[in-house]
């Protein structure tokens, strides 16, 4: 989850998010260098005593500042497109989960084998146990097996919502009447927090998402318990 005063991304919990982090470092380094260059040029322009009111053209610098930005853009675009296509690769998911947005909670359905479904409401601040996170905890988490490709089908029952988990590199709009598909692999066990990312009414900020990645045995035990309780 995010920590106070955090500016950068959260630690990656999926291979796609790792790639996005690496790409972000790459793009930010280029941005940093260009900013340094621009700052230097501004200081040089401000402090120079040289002025020439009669310059008409200069072929050399025109060529440089046309070709160099094009090269830099290509060097940014190539890894970007690679990740874009990586995110859309066809994989063979081991599990499909439906995440449905409501005002103002999420519901999850695991219908591959049995009919398992439950709602996930935010834990109110006054009911938090010590150590739990305000506005992020839910009464039921979406439990998934780690290191398995999972398909998430996202939709909504009423208004627009958006299912987002930053550490997994995922965000998908929940549109009523439409089924959006996304997929991920949780590379490590843990709790991954997210929040609704499309304005949906008064309690838009109070319908968080918690994904709990566990080893397969624990997932099987959890799903058996949930089916017994249902």
């Amino acid at each position: 989850m995010a920590h106070p005063t955090q500016l950068g991304f959260q630690d990656a919990a999926s291979p796609v998010m790792e790639e996005l982090l690496h790409f972000h470092d790459h793009a930010l380094m280029i941005v940093f260098l260009i900013s340094t260059l621009v700052l230097y040029i501004i200081i040089a322009m401000v402090s120079t005593k040289l002025t020439n009111k009669y310059i008409l053209d200069s072929q050399e610098i025109e060529i440089v500042w046309t070709i160099l930005p094009a090269v830099i853009l290509v060097l940014i675009a190539l890894p970007s497109l690679r990740i874009l296509y990586l995110m859309d690769e066809i994989n063979d998911p081991h599990l499909t989960i439906k995440a449905m947005g409501h005002q103002w909670y999420w519901s999850y359905e695991y219908t591959d084998y049995e009919d398992l479904g439950f709602d996930s409401y935010m834990v109110p601040t006054q009911d938090l146990a010590p150590g739990q996170f305000r506005l992020l905890e839910t009464d039921h988490r979406m439990v998934v097996p780690m290191e398995s490709p999972i398909r998430i089908l996202v939709s909504a029952e009423d208004v627009l919502h958006s299912w987002a988990v930053p550490s997994l590199g995922m965000k998908m709009d929940a549109v009523p009447g439409r089924l959006n598909q996304t997929a991920f692999i949780a590379s490590r066990p843990g709790l991954f927090y997210g929040q609704c990312s499309e304005i949906c009414g008064a309690n838009h900020s109070f319908m968080p998402i918690v994904v709990e990645a566990v080893p397969l045995e624990h997932f099987e035990n959890w799903s058996s318990l949930m089916l017994e309780d249902a």
């Binding site: 950068g8 690496h22 470092d25 380094m29 340094t36 260059l37 120079t48």
Partner: protein, 111 residues
């Protein structure tokens, strides 16, 4: 790199870019600083023009940092792909050991 039992605070350029904890960033900046110094100094020694030498130094910093950065990130990306392949290979070996799909069994020939 990070220490055991505690994370180094890292040095953030412009408040965002964490140089110490970003792979290749520290090396690139250091190479860039070295390249800038060398380029600016050589130009000054050759021409005795201070301002132009500063310009050459900045250009040297940009080019050396970019070049070092791309080279290091490319090698880093290749390493990560190899690491992922090795991880998958180890996982497959553990899962499929003793079965028909065991990759090491195929190499030893038919039984």
């Amino acid at each position: 790199m990070t220490e055991e039992g505690g994370k180094s605070p890292g040095m953030k350029v412009m408040g965002i870019h964490d140089i110490q904890n970003t792979p290749c960033a520290r090396e690139s900046i250091l190479h860039g600083a070295g390249g800038s110094l060398v380029a600016g100094l050589v130009h000054f020694l050759a021409t005795s023009r201070v301002k132009r030498s500063f310009d050459v130094g900045v250009a040297g910093f940009m080019l050396t940092t970019l070049g070092s950065w791309f080279y290091c990130r490319y090698n880093n990306a290749k390493l990560r792909v190899q690491q992922r392949m090795i991880q998958d290979g180890i996982k497959n070996k553990v899962i499929y050991e003793g079965t028909n799909l065991d990759p090491t069994q195929k190499k030893s020939g038919d039984q």
